[in-house]
């Protein structure tokens, strides 16, 4: 996706960003919410948007990148179509989350943090989703799947593929 070759295309690409920036004064205290909004709109923090943010607000690139790389919520690369957030909290750990992680990684043929070749899934671990009584837990998109076993986790992934007739 080239965003700077053509004026028309560029303006559309930056539309969402313009709307976000209009809501804030662009001060230091706004960096985190602005980045959160960008990620919400674009799925990740694209470099050209971050450049534009610095140009337009006068925030220093080191401030913006410092924040973008400090907090685990922010992503500098796009994710797959479905983001799997596998909980690695304490309750999930003692109930076997690591085995679930291995099963998912094996089923999807990716490492933790990776994205499948077909772009369907990104597998991430998170510190705690807070549904400890359902441990081990994962979220795919907004849907929560609880009381997982390695086998159950594999079946959930297969279900995604089957639903599409693949």
């Amino acid at each position: 996706m080239s965003n700077k070759c053509c004026c028309n295309e560029r303006s559309h690409y930056f539309d969402k960003f313009d709307k976000i920036l209009a809501k804030y004064e662009g001060k230091e205290a706004d960096i985190i919410p602005i980045l959160q909004n960008i990620q919400e709109a674009y799925g990740y923090l694209p470099q050209d948007i971050l450049d534009e943010l610095c140009d337009r607000t006068g925030l220093h690139p080191s401030q913006v990148m410092g924040v973008a790389t400090f907090y685990s919520q922010f992503r500098l690369k796009p994710t797959g179509e479905n983001l799997i957030k596998l909980c690695f909290g304490t309750a999930c750990h003692v109930n076997g989350a690591e085995k679930v992680a291995e099963a998912l990684a094996d089923e999807l043929k990716i490492e933790i943090g990776g994205t499948t070749d077909d772009g369907r899934f990104t597998l991430e671990t998170v510190a705690c989703l807070g549904c400890c009584s359902l441990a081990p837990v994962m979220m795919i998109g907004d849907e929560t799947y609880g009381r997982l076993t390695p086998d159950k986790a594999r079946k959930i992934i297969r279900g995604f593929y089957e639903n599409r007739g693949e």
Binding site: K27, D30, Y71, T90, V126
Partner: protein, 600 residues
């Protein structure tokens, strides 16, 4: 009398579905929709409502049915299918489905023990009100305490009351709340801030989330009272971004309070003005540390600052700031409304009131419980929690998350108060209580927590940044069977240095999980290092899966589930596992119905 029941006609019903995060995760929305469809179909005068966490997470989805006499029956593990049946039998035919009842006004149930020992102050409205209805909160005394404070008390009297109550910070360290307020009051400045730490980052803890989702008004009111007491007119709630539902409900609660004139300028006709803003965190455990949290609100990397000056003197944007966590603030209105003496009736000499715990891990009845301080650990784990979920021997309970430690089974008489828990080497922490049984390896648990703290160290202090990394490397080596003589001593040395040379709580407490497991389970470390054995049979490098020939009937179930085809054998003959291929995923053992697969 329940809220909203007074205007119900004879024969009417109110159905309330528990829609906290746990309830939704367990399928609460589908249950809600099922009831909705039934109500529309039947034309019965039934009100459908939602509520936050009722505490019995292990029985989600929970549904409460209240009749026109105000009598309540709560059903557990409700599915859309069960919802149809409950509607048919209970609502239409007037016959409750007894076998699914988990709590009832007029009936004894198997789950009564879960509630009998609890005392609900912080959670007083959680599960009892619709968290998105300010009217329901007000009907249960919300905003009465701030009214009392503004109209009848001076700020000094409010602080005195909180001091006398003995309330200590529920975020972990247990600093007296009234004292904190006093310092902030004493700081002279035209601008001061109230901050709520709702960055509940401890894995295995969900107390604050449940309060935010179940009764956001108790936090708002607590912050207002604190603002009145120290002389602040602005508050920030720093909430985890991972808690979208909590944030959404807080926003609704703030908007509703503003519309009623309970937040804003000249509250209740007085000179006191107060507004609240929400700041969403972005995923950094260290932001639970108060100075790092302030940095994050200011838009910086969340790195701790030197103290002193303490936030009470120089906090948010260098202005005097009072920071407490959600649970602490949620106690305040109760104290002001009912008086310090009433609150201090509960608890021990130095730890007053109640404490909320998130009971999780290998526990039969996991959920959110609130108990008076002074209760013994075993009462929580056995009487309330029902013991281990596996039925296996209870081994330890982890308290205080990555900053805390593991309390072993033989210290289960320990009473819950700040000082007694500290003596074990664990900390009260924010209230995560993760139960472990004999299948959990304590070296692995220590490694787990170090993985977490090492990743979350902000990197400012050398000992925390590099020391935790070295500790993790040693622990990984030990769990892989590559431990060496001297490793334990090296770990102890690193622990001592990291504690001494770190600026903030994260670093100072990071060694605790290792220190407590070394203190109580040293033999497990030694078994890993010297005998290359994992006594709990968890550490992959030190175990082997085997098939017992005399038990295996050759059903082939195991060979079919093995993802790496490590199991071979003919039908109806004993199978064999090829250890050189086996990845020790455990799928075979989980599948075998004949207990023919063992771990050695």
């Amino acid at each position: 009398m329940r809220i909203g029941v007074s205007n119900m006609k004879k024969g009417d019903f109110k159905i309330i579905v528990g829609l906290g995060s746990c309830g939704i995760a367990a399928g609460g929305n589908k249950v809600y929709e099922a009831f909705k469809a039934n109500i529309e179909k039947s034309n019965k005068p039934v009100t459908l409502d939602e509520t936050g966490c009722m505490g019995m997470c292990y029985k989600e989805v929970l549904v409460e049915v209240i009749d026109s006499d105000g009598k309540s029956i709560i059903y557990g593990e409700v599915t859309p299918e069960k919802a149809n049946k409950i509607f048919e039998s209970h609502i239409i035919e007037g016959k409750p489905v007894i076998e699914w009842v988990v709590k009832a006004d007029d009936m004894e149930t198997s789950e009564d023990a879960f509630f009998n020992k609890q005392m609900r102050i912080v959670l007083r409205r959680c599960g009892a009100i619709n968290p998105e209805s300010i009217d329901e909160a007000i009907a249960m005394d919300a905003y009465k305490a701030i009214e009392k404070a503004i109209k009848t008390m001076t700020p000094e009297q409010v602080i005195e009351e909180v001091l006398n109550s003995g309330l200590r910070g529920r975020g972990g360290a247990g600093f007296p709340t009234g004292m904190k307020w006093k310092f902030a009051r004493a700081s002279q400045d035209s601008k001061k801030y109230i901050v709520c730490n709702a960055d509940e980052g401890d894995p295995g803890a969900f107390m604050d989330r449940s309060v935010l989702e179940g009764d956001p008004h108790s936090l708002i009111e607590g912050m207002m009272i604190a603002g009145y007491a120290i002389g602040a007119d602005e508050g920030y709630i720093y909430a985890r971004a991972e808690y979208p539902l909590a944030i959404q409900r807080l926003k609704i609660a703030i908007r509703d309070a503003e519309e009623r004139g309970l937040l804003g300028k000249n509250i209740l006709g007085s000179d006191f003005s107060f507004k609240i803003k929400i700041k969403e965190g972005a995923g950094a455990f260290v932001c639970g540390e108060e100075t790092a949290l302030l940095g994050s609100i200011e838009g910086k990397r969340g790195m701790p600052r030197m103290r002193p000056p303490f936030p009470a003197v120089k906090g948010l944007w260098d202005k005097p700031t009072n920071i407490n966590n959600v649970e602490t603030y949620a106690n305040v209105a109760y104290i002001i409304l009912h008086g310090a003496a009433e609150y201090a009736k509960y608890g021990t000499e130095k730890s007053k009131g109640t404490k909320v715990f998130a009971l999780a891990g290998k526990i039969a009845k996991g959920g959110l419980v609130e108990v008076p301080m002074g209760m013994q650990l075993k009462e929580i784990i056995y009487d309330i929690g029902g013991g281990t979920s596996s039925g296996k021997k209870f081994k330890a309970v982890q308290m205080g998350g990555p900053s805390g430690g593991c309390i072993p089974a033989d210290l289960i008489d320990t009473i819950i108060d700040y000082d007694s828990v500290n003596q074990t080497g664990a900390i009260m922490g924010s209230g995560g209580m993760v139960v472990m049984d004999e299948d959990n390896c304590m070296v692995d648990i220590a490694r787990f927590f170090l993985t977490f703290t090492q990743k979350e160290s902000c990197g400012k202090c050398t000992y925390c940044r590099i020391g935790t990394k070295r500790m993790l490397e040693i622990l990984e080596r030990i769990t892989k069977g590559e431990g060496k003589e001297g490793d334990i001593e090296l770990l102890e040395e690193l622990c001592a240095n990291i504690k001494k040379n770190s600026l903030c709580g994260l670093g100072q407490t990071a060694p605790n999980p290792v220190l407590t497991t070394l203190k109580y389970f040293r033999h497990e470390y030694e078994a890993h290092i010297r005998d290359k054995k994992c006594p709990a049979k968890q550490c992959k490098a030190l175990i082997e899966y085997k098939i017992l020939e005399d038990k295996c009937i050759g059903c082939t179930a195991c060979s079919r589930v093995c993802p790496v085809k490590a199991i071979s054998g003919e039908v109806k003959k004993a199978h064999k596992i090829d250890s050189s291929i086996c990845t020790k995923c455990g799928a075979c053992k989980a599948t075998c119905k004949f207990d023919a697969i063992i771990v050695e």
